[in-house]
């Protein structure tokens, strides 16, 4: 039977996430290469806008209006919908490698016994199934992996493919939610926003990072200023998080987030291996550090030897001047 590949979309603030458009593009290209077909899924309290956007990328999208997801963790409800689609013939499930996507993928593996190709930085079809490329051992090796059965799950890192809409918009099919969650429901009592954390680090095109050299919470002022001027998002290293200068949610690296922005600008970042694991596949890496021997120089496309509190404000002034020109 030709494969039927499911792209699971995620919604943030009522709109489809950027990563979901990449997941959908990948699912469609895999289906085209395999001679199969692709379908999308949006599970949200108000899924219609996101489903319509997902349908720009896929011939068919299932929109499930699930009021429970407003007050519960998403994965138990989403996995119930994925399992219904599996019962209807879906052979491969593609999700974003996000917190929710990983929770859903893990639950699906536990419930179905299907294999998981995790954290794909790219994927193709080899004639029998998907082949993914992913980074393991903290970026020390890149492995190509396949499934040994005609069914399985893939999670996709941001930036693995460039999102590309299909030639024409697909059909959106609305359906009622499954009666029961796939795993026990987990209520959300409160959703708390922290200052400076409005934008998604993993989806950002430009990331400006403050490391140990920033020295204090106030030191992040210049990091925030430059992020604002560049249209980027503030990130951090383990050292600056451990020091308590910024929230853990901003941390990039082995025990934090893995990002792949077009531009990474590091201020006072030494470039410890634990951090490089999370940023070394950025398109362009620029770093400012007083220490000419800082390991970040090994991966930087442009390395400025200088004090971030001098070079940073000078760069901000330069950017403001060019904007005004």
């Amino acid at each position: 039977m030709p494969p039927l590949i499911l792209a699971v979309g995620e919604v943030a603030d009522g709109t489809l996430t950027r990563l979901s458009t990449e997941v959908a593009t990948l699912a469609r290209s895999l289906a085209e290469a395999a001679g199969g077909s692709a379908v999308g899924l949006v599970v949200d309290a108000a899924p219609d806008a996101a489903a319509a956007e997902l349908a720009m990328y896929l011939p068919r999208v299932v929109a499930v209006a699930s009021p429970d997801t407003a007050g519960e963790v998403w994965a138990p409800r989403a996995v119930a919908e994925v399992r219904r689609l599996v019962d209807e013939g879906v052979s491969h499930v593609v999700l974003g490698a996000t917190a929710d996507g990983r929770d859903a993928a893990g639950a699906l593996v536990g419930l179905t016994g299907w294999g998981l190709l995790a954290n794909a930085d790219g994927a193709g079809w080899d004639g029998e199934g998907p082949v993914t490329v992913s980074s393991v051992l903290g970026g020390k090796a890149i492995v190509r992996s396949t499934l040994t059965a005609p069914a399985g799950i893939v999670t996709v890192r941001p930036g693995a493919v460039a999102a590309e809409p299909a030639a024409g918009a697909g059909a959106v099919e609305s359906r009622q939610p499954a009666a029961e969650p796939a795993t026990p429901a987990v209520p959300v009592l409160d959703r708390v926003s922290e200052a400076g954390a409005e934008a998604s680090l993993e989806e950002a095109r430009i990331v400006v990072v403050g490391g140990r050299g920033v020295g204090s919470p106030d030191g992040f002022g210049i990091v925030e200023d430059l992020a604002g001027l560049l249209g980027g998002v503030v990130g951090a290293t383990r050292a600056s998080v451990d020091a308590g200068w910024i929230a853990y949610a901003r941390q990039i690296g082995q025990t934090g987030k893995v990002v792949k922005p077009a531009l990474y600008l590091g201020l006072g970042v030494s470039g410890a291996m634990q951090h490089r694991v999370g940023m070394q596949s950025a398109g362009t890496i620029v770093a400012v550090n007083r220490d000419p021997d800082a390991p970040i120089a090994e991966v930087a496309d442009l390395f400025v030897v200088g004090d971030l509190f001098e070079v940073g404000p000078a760069l901000a002034a330069e950017l403001r001047a060019r904007r005004g020109a």
Partner: protein
């Protein structure tokens, strides 16, 4: 309060010697082994909960037989006993098998909370806790920045890190929690802890002990690594040593050339 912590022995990222063997599997002889970093945060959180509320912390690993040495490091931090699932038939086990085996081993213990690191530094898949929870039919509270069990109500409350901050989530116990660095730095084992760990029990279990059908025979795993390579080296970058205003101008020119501003 009984807490079971999943602890995976992994190659020490700090040693920088991790590598894959010719069969594309982890070359376990190449690198010293430590308890996975995120599992140490889980263990620390478990120890603090038990110190405050009473109870017992045990650890559970699925690993080669020599993993007892690494597990002793976790016992030295304060866990009272360990369970090691080890079996030649599990060599190179895939994720579905790992989940089935850990779930079966956990089900043989009694616990209020099952903690695990959010992901491991070697595979980085980050799906084991969710899979084990699903197999056991237990609620998953993932990405925990804090864990507050309430013995009186039998419920556990977790701050789950979100893209914007955190969500406060709650579920009845027993429950599975995946743990992050935000829980706080793990303690160093004391000399007393290291001495005590020597005599603590690490029970070993084989596949046969846990039940039939947990692993496919003959290494018929659901996924296969078909190739591996080193990541491409980045071309040597440009180094700028100039007064701040000049350096800033050169930096802005560089960004403009690459159409990043």
């Amino acid at each position: 309060m009984r807490i079971l912590v999943l602890t995976k022995p992994v190659p020490d990222p700090a040693a920088g010697a991790e590598r894959l063997g010719p069969d594309f599997r982890l070359d376990r002889a190449a690198s010293p082994t430590v308890v996975n970093g995120n599992d140490e945060y889980a263990l620390e959180a478990a120890l603090q909960l038990v110190e405050a509320q009473g109870g017992e912390v045990a650890i559970l690993s699925m690993a080669p037989a020599n993993a007892v040495e690494t597990m002793r490091k976790a016992l030295a931090m304060g866990a009272l006993r360990g369970v090691l699932v080890t079996d030649p038939a599990l060599e190179g086990a895939d994720l579905p098998t790992t989940i089935r085996v850990l779930a079966a081993a956990a089900a043989a213990e009694s616990f209020d909370l099952l903690l695990a690191g959010l992901d491991t530094s070697d595979g980085q898949g980050g799906a084991v806790a969710a899979g084990v929870a699903a197999r056991l039919g237990l609620p998953l509270l993932s990405n925990a920045a804090s864990i507050e069990p309430d013995v009186a109500t039998g419920r556990v409350r977790v701050r789950r890190i979100s893209a914007k901050g955190y969500d406060v989530i709650e579920a009845p116990m027993p429950a599975v929690v995946s743990c992050t660095q935000a829980l706080g730095a793990p303690r160093y084992p004391s000399l007393k802890g290291i001495m005590a760990a020597r005599s603590r029990e690490i029970a070993t279990r084989s596949l046969a002990d846990l039940g039939d059908g947990l692993a496919p025979g003959g290494g018929a795993w659901a996924t296969r690594v078909v190739g591996a390579e080193k990541p491409p080296a980045r071309a040597a970058g440009r180094v700028v040593k100039a007064p701040p205003a000049d350096a800033a101008r050169e930096l802005a020119d560089f960004l403009a050339d690459r159409r990043l501003i």
